[in-house]
C-alpha cells in the first residue's frame, strides 16, 4: 500500500508551501479565472504570449486546497516556454499524471481547476 498520506507526498506539499509563478503578470496577453462551485476555491491565470506564439511568462493566483494550488503551480512550470500548440495539447490525463498520485473523483476536480482556467484564458471550450 502507498504511503498513508500519499496525497500529501513531498511534491504536492512543496508546491503548496512554495508555489512557483504565483502572482499576477503585467502586462499579459491572456487571462482567465474560475472557481470550483463545490468548495469555493478560485484560480486566476495570466499569460504573456510572444509574437511566435510561445508562452513567454505565466503567473497563477488564487485560494484553494493543496491539490488545486500544487496543480496550478506545476501547470505554470509546464506551460512556460511552450508554444500555444503544445499548451493546447495538455489534457486532463497529463495534468493528473503530473501530480503523481491517484485522486478520488472529488479531488480530481481540485486538480483540474487550473487546466479549466488555462483553457478559458486561451479562449477555448472547457471540455477536455
Amino acid at each position: 500500500m502507498a504511503h498513508p498520506y500519499a496525497l500529501y507526498q513531498a511534491q504536492i506539499l512543496e508546491h503548496y508551501k512554495h508555489p512557483k509563478n504565483r502572482g499576477v503578470l503585467e502586462p499579459a496577453t491572456h487571462a482567465g479565472s474560475e472557481s470550483n462551485p463545490l468548495c469555493g476555491d478560485s484560480i486566476s491565470l495570466t499569460l504573456r504570449v510572444d509574437g511566435s506564439d510561445r508562452v513567454e511568462d505565466v503567473r497563477f493566483d488564487g485560494e484553494g486546497c493543496a491539490v488545486s494550488m500544487a496543480s496550478a503551480s506545476i501547470l505554470t512550470e509546464q506551460v512556460k516556454g511552450k508554444t500555444l500548440a503544445e499548451v493546447r495539447a495538455l489534457d486532463r490525463e497529463a495534468v493528473l499524471k503530473n501530480l503523481g498520485v491517484p485522486l478520488s473523483a472529488v479531488r480530481e476536480q481540485c486538480a483540474l481547476l487550473s487546466l479549466h482556467v488555462l483553457r478559458r484564458a486561451l479562449g477555448e471550450p472547457k471540455g477536455s
Binding site: P4, Y5, L7, Y8, L13, L38, C39, G40, D41, S42, E63, G64, C65, A66, V67, R107, C110
Partner: protein
C-alpha cells in the same frame, strides 16, 4: 485531561444498533462525524423498510384488499407518530414531501407564488440560511416582485435579533429562519421570531432540518406557521421529508403536483383538490420512506429527545474545549454549548478544509468540508470554506478524541 461527557445515552448499545458503525475504514474504526449532512440508520429503520417490501407491499389508500389496508395503516400510522413527535394538533397538519428542500419550495410556490404574495410584499430571512431557504424566495422575488431582506449575525454567529425591529414592517408577509444553523450550530429563538412575525400579520416559516433530529420540537409552543425537515438527517431513509403547517396556512397553499392521490374528483378540464395534506401528495407517495421515518421517530422517542439534546450538548462542550486548545485552529459559532447544536465548524491556519478532510479520511474520520450550502454565511465571515464535524446519538467522547488525534496529524503534515 478534559472532563469526560456525562453518560446520558447508552452509546455502546446505540452503536450496536447501527450496522454501518461495525465496519472499519482502512483497518481503523469508522468515526462518523457528518450527521449534519446525513445520519446513519439503525437496524430498526432498515428492518422496517425490508419488512414493508417483504410482507405488505401495496399501494396506499384505495386498495380494497387486505394488503393495501396494511400498507395504508403503516403509512398513515407513520404520519400520526410524526405529528405526535412534533406536538402537532392533528396528523392532517403533516404532509409528506421528498425533503426539506421540497417542503420549503412548496411553501414558497404553493403559499407564496400561487396564492398569498404580491408585488412589494416583504420576506425577511437571515444570512445564516441554507441555500434551500434562500433560493425558493429568490424565485418568488423574481416572479412576483416581492422584496427580500436579511437579518445579519454577530461575530459569534448569533442572530442580531434587534434588526427585526427595523426589518419587520407592515409590508412583511413572511419571516423565515433556520431553527439551528447547519454551519454555526446557532439555535435561534424561533418562538420570539414567530411572535414578531405575527404582530404584523406575517407567517413564520422554520427550516427545522437541523433541529427536529436533535432536540425536542413542539410546533404549538413555537407557534410557527410552517416547519420543514428531512427524514434522512434523523435516522430515517433519504427521499422522505415533512412539511408541517397549521391547518389555516395549509388550506391557503396550492398544490404543486397535479395527478393521482391529490384530487377529490376530476372531469374533462376540471378537478377538485383532495383535503390537506393529501392535496400536496400527488402521485404514489414514498411509502417505504414514510414507514422508515416512522421507525426512526419511534427510535428517537424511545431514547427521549431531552436526552438526545443533553447528550449532544455535553459532546459539543467537550469538542469545543478540546479543539479550542489546538494551535492555529479557529472555530465559528457560539462558544457556549447551551446555545448551539452538535455541529462544530472550524478552519486551520495552514491547511485548507479539503486537505483537513482528506487527511482525516485516511484516519477513518468522516467530516465535511466546503461551504455547506451556506455561501451567504461564508461571505459574511469572509471564508471560502470550513471543515465541519457534527455529532449524533451514536457518537461519544472517543469519537471526539479520534477527531483531535487526526487533526494533530493534519498539523504535522502541514507544519
Amino acid at each position: 485531561m478534559a472532563r469526560a461527557a456525562k453518560v446520558l445515552l447508552n452509546v455502546p448499545a446505540i452503536k450496536a444498533d447501527f450496522p454501518i458503525l461495525h465496519r472499519t475504514m482502512r483497518d481503523k474504526p469508522l468515526t462518523y462525524l457528518d450527521s449534519t449532512a446525513t445520519s446513519q440508520k439503525p437496524k430498526q429503520v432498515i428492518d422496517a423498510i425490508v419488512d414493508y417490501y417483504a410482507r405488505y407491499n401495496a399501494n396506499v389508500h384505495r386498495a380494497i384488499y387486505e394488503l393495501g389496508e396494511e400498507s395504508t395503516r403503516a403509512f398513515e400510522g407513520a404520519r400520526e407518530r410524526i405529528a405526535e413527535f412534533l406536538h402537532a394538533r392533528s396528523p392532517t397538519e403533516v404532509a409528506f414531501t421528498k425533503s426539506t428542500t421540497e417542503s420549503l419550495n412548496l411553501i414558497a410556490y404553493g403559499w407564496g407564488l400561487k396564492g398569498k404574495l404580491k408585488e412589494g410584499d416583504e420576506i425577511v430571512g437571515t444570512v445564516m440560511e441554507h441555500h434551500s431557504n434562500h433560493v425558493p424566495w429568490h424565485f418568488v422575488r423574481d416572479l412576483k416582485g416581492a422584496v427580500l431582506k436579511y437579518v445579519d449575525v454577530d461575530d459569534d454567529g448569533a442572530l442580531r435579533m434587534e434588526q427585526y425591529d427595523d426589518l419587520i414592517t407592515k409590508r412583511t408577509k413572511v419571516v423565515t429562519v433556520a431553527h439551528v444553523s447547519n454551519v454555526l450550530g446557532t439555535i435561534n429563538d424561533v418562538k420570539e421570531i414567530a411572535k414578531r412575525a405575527h404582530e404584523v400579520g406575517a407567517i413564520c416559516v422554520v427550516d427545522a432540518a437541523q433541529s427536529v433530529p436533535h432536540m425536542p420540537v413542539d410546533v404549538q409552543d413555537l407557534d410557527c406557521d410552517f416547519l420543514a425537515f428531512s427524514g434522512h438527517k434523523m435516522l430515517g431513509p433519504t427521499g422522505i421529508g415533512v412539511l408541517y403547517g397549521k391547518a389555516k396556512v395549509l388550506e391557503e397553499t396550492e398544490p404543486l403536483l397535479g395527478g393521482g392521490e391529490m384530487i377529490r374528483e376530476v372531469h374533462l378540464g376540471t378537478a377538485k383538490w383532495n383535503d390537506v395534506p393529501y392535496k400536496f401528495e400527488g402521485g404514489t407517495p414514498n411509502i417505504e420512506g414514510a414507514i422508515g421515518l416512522g421507525a426512526a421517530v419511534d427510535y428517537l422517542s424511545k431514547l427521549g429527545m431531552e436526552s438526545v439534546r443533553a447528550h449532544e450538548m455535553d459532546l459539543t462542550a467537550y469538542a469545543l474545549e478540546r479543539l479550542g486548545k489546538m494551535p492555529g485552529l479557529r472555530m465559528y459559532g457560539p462558544r457556549d454549548a447551551r446555545k448551539r447544536g452538535g455541529v462544530v465548524s472550524f478552519t486551520m491556519d495552514k491547511a485548507h478544509p479539503h486537505d483537513i478532510a482528506s487527511i482525516l479520511d485516511v484516519e477513518g474520520v468522516c467530516i465535511r468540508s466546503g461551504h455547506h450550502c451556506a455561501q451567504p454565511l461564508m461571505d459574511r465571515f469572509n471564508l471560502a470554506a470550513t471543515a465541519r464535524a457534527s455529532f449524533y446519538v451514536y457518537n461519544d467522547v472517543e469519537d471526539v478524541d479520534r477527531l483531535v488525534a487526526a487533526l494533530e496529524k493534519v498539523h504535522e503534515v502541514f507544519a
